[in-house]
Amino acid sequence: MDRGLLIISTLFFFLAMVWTTVAIKARRYRAAGFNFSAIALGFVCQTAFLTVRGHALGRCPLTNLFEVFIFLAWSVSLIYLLIGPAYRLSLMGAFTAPFVFGLQAFALLSPIDVPHPRVASPSPWLEMHASVSLIAYGAFALACVAGLMYLLQERQLKSRQINSLFYHFPPLTDLFAAITRLLWLGFVLLTFGIAAGFLTGQPLPYVKIAWSLGVWIFYAAILLARHLGTTAPRRIATLCVVAFSAALTLLWGITFLSQTHSL
């Protein structure tokens, strides 16, 4: 039942992705409407999946790598739906849908939905730590998406070769402002998530502490560079892409290797 909801959600993201690709290829892309609605419907199904799974488990559904991936995909959709329209970033949906689709398709097709043996209710701080940290990752994912958009738009402006999507992109300064806000949102949430991890009262694995602090320091350094004004926006955008790619790989690696990360 719950996987069915997830499959429907994945189909909505697939639909958004295909529609955008076809519209861009036919040079008929219109920013508003279909794409946003498809992502919103996908989000509703994701939420329903997580609710059903959470009720079945009796806890926040973050017990294995499969659920971690879906929760991350849900966080990305949530933050896109909250900030996309507000910051005139509707084209961001064209980049967000393939990312979420990829995450969910990978989770559905891989043999990673293995029931976790632990049944005891975890500490609320541990649940808070895991869920807030993953929402922070959602913000970093969108900072990465905005960074990619910035790099593409900057490249078009530098090369003076514009394509039909050029005028659909948000202005460079707006994209940079969105990157900054997303970085701050992710950073504040991650700080809160890490702090919650230390309040669980349980011994934390060294690898997890090192990884969490490593990610936190990386993003702190990016924010510092951004606010000192000594690093060009293009480099900040590149760093957002690099930081999230590295953090996602590490998240996957650590969660995969260490079952202790799951609740």
């Binding site: 219109r30 738009q153 402006l157 530098k158 514009i162 039909s164 202005p171 300064t173 293009r234």
Partner: protein, 354 residues
């Protein structure tokens, strides 16, 4: 009932011919009283002169053309040949294409819609527009809106000034807090500066070898004149630099800009160099955060936009074709309901003597 359009445009006549057929104040009355049109709308722009009309009896093109000349003038045969005539559904299709900007010299330009609306309003006021043309023109406005919003036909700027402004918008978004420096007070930079002021720029500084010219231009565009020798210090503050001096060698080089931009790396600098020979060394574009466009690159973007617009023509034609069919259907159903409205299905409407 005949529904037809007679006219000439940039497609069929040069400007010398077009400027002879400009019509006159009493054209509506002449078309109705002297020629027997039951309804008539006269559209004139710098690129076209057209009469859209409905009549019980066919009216020859030559008689309509003669009406468009000033009193006492006679139309030459070769001038008459420049006139086109569209009947019934072709007339409907032609108006929809004109209103949508598909028939314009610059494809997708939107000024034409305002001109069509003005022509319609004038005819309505004088009583020359009856139920048929009223319905036809209202539909044309709807079609034009749909073509504009559902295709990319109006996307991208196609003149040097508007390309520069559009690019600035893609970099900065809004202009209210942006600062602009005009290096040289030439006519081209003045036009671009005016366009930026129109879009909201409030802080505009003008410098020129001749301070008098700088002061005069600054007064015209509500900016302020600054000393030529201070242009480098202003570069630290401005977001947009428009250069059009008559200098023989580049004024703005990497070496000069590097120290100025060092402490503003997080703010882009858009440089529009419309001088020939160029005022800005081309390698400035390689600097971090600097976007340099010279006259050739602006022209190239304008051409790319035009190419993109041309690719949208088919999509616009599809929308128009649907509306032409639908409009014809409306006439047929009106006839079936016993309405006295003229009908496109009526053979008399389709065949008319030219």
């Amino acid at each position: 009932m005949n529904l037809f359009c007679v006219g000439l445009s940039h497609h069929t006549a040069n400007v010398e011919t077009r400027e002879r057929f400009i019509g006159h104040a009493a054209i509506d009355r002449i078309l109705r009283e002297a020629l027997g049109c039951s309804e008539a709308i006269f559209l004139t722009t710098c690129n076209r002169v057209e009469v859209y009309a409905a009549s019980e009896q066919p009216i020859p093109t030559q008689r309509i053309a003669q009406c468009l000349l000033a009193e006492g003038m006679m139309a030459e045969d070769d001038e008459i040949e420049a006139f086109y005539r569209h009947e019934a559904q072709q007339c409907v299709q032609h108006l929809f294409r004109v209103a949508s900007g598909l028939d314009s010299m610059v494809i997708g330009e939107t000024e034409i819609l305002g001109q069509v609306k003005k022509a319609y309003a004038a005819a309505r006021e004088s009583g020359a527009a009856g139920p048929l043309l009223h319905r036809l023109f209202q539909r044309a406005f709807r079609v034009a809106k749909q073509v504009r919003t559902k295709t990319g036909i109006t996307r991208g700027a196609v003149s040097i000034g508007s390309v520069a402004v559009d690019l600035a918008e893609q970099i900065f978004g809004h202009f209210v807090t942006r600062k602009v420096l005009l290096l040289g007070a030439g006519e081209a930079s003045e036009r671009t500066a005016r366009a930026l002021v129109k879009r909201g720029v409030r802080d505009i500084r003008v410098t020129n070898r001749s301070p008098e010219r700088a002061v005069a231009l600054a007064a015209l565009i509500e900016g302020r004149a600054v000393a030529m020798e201070d242009w480098e210090s202003h570069c630290r503050e401005v977001d947009i630099l428009i250069s059009s001096t008559a200098a023989a060698t580049p004024l703005v080089t990497r070496e000069k800009l590097a120290p100025l931009l060092h402490d503003r790396l997080d703010r882009p600098l858009f440089i529009i160099d419309i001088a020939v020979p160029r005022d800005v060394a081309p390698d400035v574009n390689e600097m971090e955060g600097v976007f340099l466009y010279d006259i050739d690159s602006l022209r190239s973007i304008a051409q790319q936009s035009l190419d993109l617009r041309r690719q949208q023509i088919a999509a616009g034609e599809e929308i128009i074709a649907r509306h032409v069919d639908d409009f014809s259907g409306w006439f047929v159903s009106a006839r079936e309901r016993g309405s006295n409205s003229p009908q496109l299905g009526d053979p008399a409407l389709r065949v008319s003597e030219s």
